[in-house]
């Protein structure tokens, strides 16, 4: 493997290296040094993240099974930022006594999934894609069941693994049909041979269902809420941001490059499911009391909005999706960060528990508010820009009705986001969450999120850079 090849695949390889280093460390490190594993992982992963930003060659490896381009690099970078934030946020939780034995395990599993995601983003062949997607899913199931002592965690794990296995089955069945009708699994060749006959459409629909499962699009979303609620919070945030983001990226790439022959079909499909997703998720979110579950439904509805970027099949759409995922990383991790901090401190996860939070923990409340506003698309935080660009992308292709449905849905979503704001600022509580000071990792992660929320919006460079690397059909 030449240096060139290494550079093309550097992010994956570096991550593999990190995983290996951590495995070694797990074996050789002394008991008292174990508590530094977290810091060590953070440092290592930040190096990986930073490395991703250096300019690097594009190209393909393994006979076209692996493709790296500017677009995939920036997608990976966005995800890496998110993963880094999750890793930082996890530190406090991992310091708990019951987790002390499993710290490096946690990081190994987490980074393994990241490797899977990177491979699936860079896939040029359905086999690579399949391996990537499974690598990105199976460890997460283990992570979801990480809290061995909690019923809910185990339940989340089983629900995730079974559902994802089922969905993989469906997806594979779709792939097998595609293979049967085209005789190849290379993206580039499939796209040439793909027509819009019924069998292929069926194959596409099955494939799409499998992907929709990962992104948690209605009606393939039902696992989401339960798994999110049951998993440890950091895993929930990982699932809601990183897994989803990676799946969206892959979907976009595949739709834009492979299924170009049936654009009309997949546009209609996405039209239907995005309306369903936004509406149903919002309707469910209204009633939620558990914040994790609440954010789960919120993230489902966000997926619905994201599909607006997909539907146009245009360059702007891809740019706005990448941008939106970046914003979404900051906003959702900001919100989850606050939930994590409070949960770590007090074990409380319900909305009622947040009553009067502003009076005891004003900073956390403000961060939460900004994050929620960003999710709702309220200026001046970046979510506003992100949503605007998504809608612009859909409108560019004339999907005005869909945009209308989406914006009406944002009102519903604003309603439930405001419920949280109301709880924190307006409601009174007899037993508010105690005033506390978060530890450094939490503050660092939240600080990055807030900075990201503000900067990503106003610094147009970021969007313009993404735009330059995007492509349409």
């Amino acid at each position: 493997m030449s240096l060139e090849n290494f550079l093309i695949m550097r992010q994956e390889l570096l991550m593999v290296a990190v995983v290996l280093i951590l495995l070694m460390a797990e074996i050789f490190i002394s008991q008292e040094n174990r508590k530094h594993i977290s810091t060590f992982s953070v440092v290592l992963f930040s190096l990986v993240t930073i490395a991703g930003f250096f300019p690097s060659p594009s190209g393909s490896l393994f006979g076209g099974m692996y493709i790296a381009s500017g677009t995939t690099t920036i997608m990976k970078n966005v995800l890496n930022i998110g993963i880094l934030l999750v890793i930082i946020q996890s530190i406090t939780w991992l310091r708990k006594i019951e987790n002390s034995e499993k710290v490096s395990e946690y990081y190994i599993l987490l980074i393994s999934t990241a490797i899977g995601m990177n491979y699936m983003i860079s896939a040029g062949h359905f086999l690579m894609f399949y391996i990537g997607i499974e690598l990105a899913t199976i460890p997460v199931a283990a992570l979801a069941a990480f809290d061995r002592m909690k019923n809910k965690s185990a339940e989340a794990g089983i629900k995730l693994i079974l559902s994802s296995a089922f969905s993989s089955g469906i997806l594979l069945y779709g792939l097998s049909i595609i293979y049967g009708t085209t005789g190849t699994l290379y993206f580039s060749e499939v796209s040439k041979l793909f027509t819009s006959n019924s069998l292929q459409t069926l194959g596409f629909i099955f494939f799409f269902s499998g992907m929709a499962f990962k992104i948690s699009i209605v009606p393939f979303h039902l696992w989401t809420a339960d798994v999110y609620e049951g998993s440890p919070i950091n895993i929930t945030s990982y699932l809601s941001v990183i897994s989803k983001g990676a799946a969206v990226f892959v979907l976009v790439i595949i739709l834009f490059t492979v299924f170009t022959a049936i654009v009309k079909t997949w546009q209609s499909t996405i039209y239907v499911v995005s309306v369903l997703t936004m509406t149903v998720a919002n309707l469910f979110a209204i009633r939620q009391q558990n914040l994790k579950r609440f954010l789960a439904f919120s993230s489902i509805s966000q997926a619905g909005y994201i599909l607006l970027g997909v539907i146009g099949g245009n360059e702007l759409g891809m740019a706005s999706i990448i941008y939106y995922i970046l914003v979404y990383v900051f906003s959702n991790l900001g919100a989850f960060g606050v939930v994590t901090a409070i949960s770590n401190q007090s074990g409380k996860e319900n909305m009622d528990d947040y009553n009067g939070l502003y009076h005891t923990n004003p900073k956390l409340s403000l961060i939460m508010t900004l994050a929620l506003f960003s999710l709702a698309g309220i200026p001046p935080v970046a979510g506003f820009f992100g949503k605007f660009f998504l809608f612009t992308a859909a409108a560019q292709k004339g999907f005005y009705l869909l945009v209308l449905i989406a914006v009406l849905n944002t009102i519903i979503s604003l309603f439930y986001y405001l419920l949280v704001v109301k709880a924190m600022f307006i409601n009174k509580s007899d037993s508010p969450i105690e005033k506390f000071r978060s530890d450094f990792p939490t503050r660092l992660a939240l600080g990055i999120c807030i900075a990201g929320l503000v900067i990503t919006g106003f610094a147009s460079v970021i969007f313009d850079a993404i735009r330059n690397l995007s492509f349409g059909i």
Partner: protein
């Protein structure tokens, strides 16, 4: 012609006085502010007289008659390219005449109020409001354009509102002021609509342009029509509606009697002499248009005037509150003026009615102010408004008595007092135009004499009432204005109006028509005699007469139940049948729809929760169903 620029101070000075007294009034001593206000008014009275002298006798008018002079004009607000609201001063015979009337009466009232309002709480406020009123009224009469007139029209309305409600802790005064404002406001709506229609068709507000017989108003006369009447007719009728409201003509008269809740000097100034004749002035101001392009509207003016004068005169015969009697009498007299305008033609002797109307306006201002101020002096002495509480006051109030008598004789039309001359001209004009109206006015003349002397006899003669406090004559500040106005009532009849104030500015010959004058005096004397019989001494006759008319009396006593109609319309129709349903509709339909959307959302949200059953197999079922449905949809339907 240009050296009338100083007239700008005539309206401006009272305005400054208003600002001074209004903003700093409570810092000044009460007496000082009263004096300041009065002094300011004295200055403009002099200015007005000077202007009148200069205008009428300055020799500037040549053979072509009195010109309209725009002494000052400035754009206040630009509306369209052609329409702009100006503020300015227009001098022509009627505006100059009005200046004299207003400043004279206003000055008298100011002086009178120094005594009458002495010691009242809010003395300086009173004078501030008076100044505001003077400003508005002067601004109204000198208006160069109809919109300026409307502006000041509204301002006099509000000053009237403020002054009627001067005793703001008294609920009846509050009610009265509210009523006055709203009723006139409704009429003003008509005025405004009239202005809109007029300006839309003529593209100008300017009086000089409007009333120019070769101007745009006249070329428009037959252009468009609506319901059989030309637009100009409609606009004139609407504009006249404003006049009806302000001049308390039927059916918008209801506010005037109630307005007597205000302090008596206010009634004298606003509700007798000046503001209420604004409607007449308005018609006079627009007279060429009325006369030449909208004769139908002019007929409306005549009939409304005639009906109101009769209507009011009948009611006046039955009322016992002296100020209300005077109020109805005012209404009746204004009806006269309206009628006179309504029957008048344009130019030369044809314009007799116009001249007569202005003449009567002038004399009426004098004697009606006198009557009100006299009534004020009586109320001041007796502390009651009701004539049944009075009687035999001539002994206690000699000056008031004499001046009151003069005023009564004047209004009754006894020669050689001024009322005789002006009323005679009106009757003559009516005779030449419309016999029916003429007959009505004869009747009203008799009724007028009757109710005025009913008032006079019941107050100053009649029973010897026992008073708690011996009534005493008012102070000089009050009696001097009475005497001045009495003189005015006597002499103003000799002013040659036919040479000064005519419809086209040119003088014309007019002489006393004995055929009209003698019977009218006889009718008046008959009325006086009848009143003498009934009220000179206490006897049972009035009740018998009342019994004779029975229902008629009852209806008249209750003012023909017009108030009740109004209350029905406002309380029942507007409040109960329009506003309450609208408010209900807003809350329970419009708002409820919005809330329904929200609650439906919540409801649906609750209904669909079973989808999320927690059963992984059900999830998978939905999953596979969804996939299959999508497949079916796209393979069989949308492919």
């Amino acid at each position: 012609m240009t050296n009338f620029g100083y007239t700008i101070w005539i309206p401006l000075l009272p305005f400054l006085m208003f600002l001074l007294l209004g903003l700093a009034g409570n810092k000044l001593k009460a007496k000082l502010s009263g004096l300041l206000g009065t002094a300011g008014l004295a200055v403009i009275t002099i200015l007005s007289y000077f202007t009148a002298y200069k205008y009428f006798f300055g020799g500037e008018n040549a053979e072509e008659g009195f010109q309209k002079i725009q002494a000052f004009n400035t754009v206040w607000l630009n509306l369209t390219d052609k329409l702009h609201i100006d503020l300015g001063i227009l001098l022509d015979p009627i505006s100059v005449m009005m200046l004299v009337v207003i400043t004279t009466v206003s000055l008298m009232v100011h002086i009178y109020s120094l005594g009458y309002m002495k010691g009242e709480k809010g003395f300086e406020r009173f004078f501030a409001f008076l100044s505001l009123f003077s400003f508005s009224m002067l601004g109204l009469v000198v208006a160069t354009n109809i919109f300026q007139m409307y502006i000041f029209w509204e301002l006099v309305g509000v000053s009237s509102f403020l002054l009627i409600g001067f005793y703001y802790t008294k609920p009846s005064a509050v009610r009265a002021s509210k009523k006055a404002f709203i009723v006139t406001r409704f009429a003003d709506l008509g005025f405004l609509i009239g202005i809109l229609i007029l300006s839309f068709n003529t593209k100008t507000f300017d009086f000089i342009t409007l009333t120019d017989p070769s101007g745009p108003a006249f070329s428009q006369s037959t252009s468009a029509a609506f319901m059989g009447l030309s637009v100009m007719t409609w606009s004139m009728i609407f504009i006249f509606m404003g006049g009806v409201g302000k001049s308390a003509m039927f059916p918008f008269h209801v506010w005037l009697p109630d307005a007597m809740e205000g302090p008596t000097p206010v009634s004298a100034l606003i509700h007798a002499a000046t503001m209420v004749v604004a409607g007449v002035y308005l018609v006079a101001r627009m007279f060429p248009i009325f006369s030449l392009t909208a004769p139908v509207a002019l007929h409306v003016v005549a009939y409304v005037g005639a009906f109101s004068s009769l209507f009011a005169a009948i009611i006046a015969c039955t009322q016992t509150d002296i100020k209300r009697v005077l109020a109805y009498s005012t209404m009746s007299q204004i009806g006269y003026m309206m009628l006179a305008l309504g029957v008048s033609g344009y130019g030369g002797h044809e314009g007799l009615g116009y001249m007569a109307s202005m003449f009567h306006l002038f004399t009426h201002a004098m004697f009606k102010a006198l009557l009100f101020l006299g009534a004020g002096a009586i109320i001041h002495a007796v502390h009651s408004n009701d004539m049944t509480d009075m009687g035999g006051l001539r002994k206690y109030l000699p000056i008031t008595h004499m001046t009151f008598l003069i005023a009564c004789l004047t209004i009754a039309g006894i020669p050689p007092l001024s009322g005789f001359f002006s009323k005679d001209e009106i009757l003559a004009a009516a005779l030449h135009s419309n016999k029916l109206l003429f007959a009505v006015e004869y009747l009203v003349a008799g009724l007028t004499a009757f109710y005025m002397f009913r008032l006079y006899f019941s107050i100053f003669w009649g029973k010897d009432t026992h008073y708690h406090h011996t009534p005493h004559e008012a102070p000089f500040t009050m009696t001097i204005p009475l005497m001045i106005l009495a003189v005015g009532s006597i002499v103003t009849g000799f002013i040659p109006f036919n040479e000064l104030v005519t419809s086209d500015g040119k003088p014309f010959e007019s002489e006393l028509e004995l055929m009209v004058a003698i019977p009218s005096v006889l009718v008046a004397l008959f009325g006086i005699g009848f009143a003498y019989l009934l009220y000179f001494k206490t006897n049972g006759l009035p009740d018998k007469v009342a019994g004779f008319f029975k229902y008629g009396y009852k209806w008249a006593y209750n003012k023909f139940y017009i108030d009740e109609v109004y209350i029905f319309v406002t309380k029942q129709v507007i409040f109960r049948y329009i506003s309450t349903p609208i408010a209900w509709f807003d809350r329970h339909v419009v708002d409820a729809t919005m809330n329904l959307i929200a609650s439906t959302t919540q409801n649906v949200s609750f209904r669909i929760r079973d989808f999320q059953s927690g059963q992984i197999q059900k999830y998978a079922f939905v999953f596979i169903t969804g996939a299959v449905m999508l497949a079916i949809l796209f393979i069989y339907f949308l492919n």
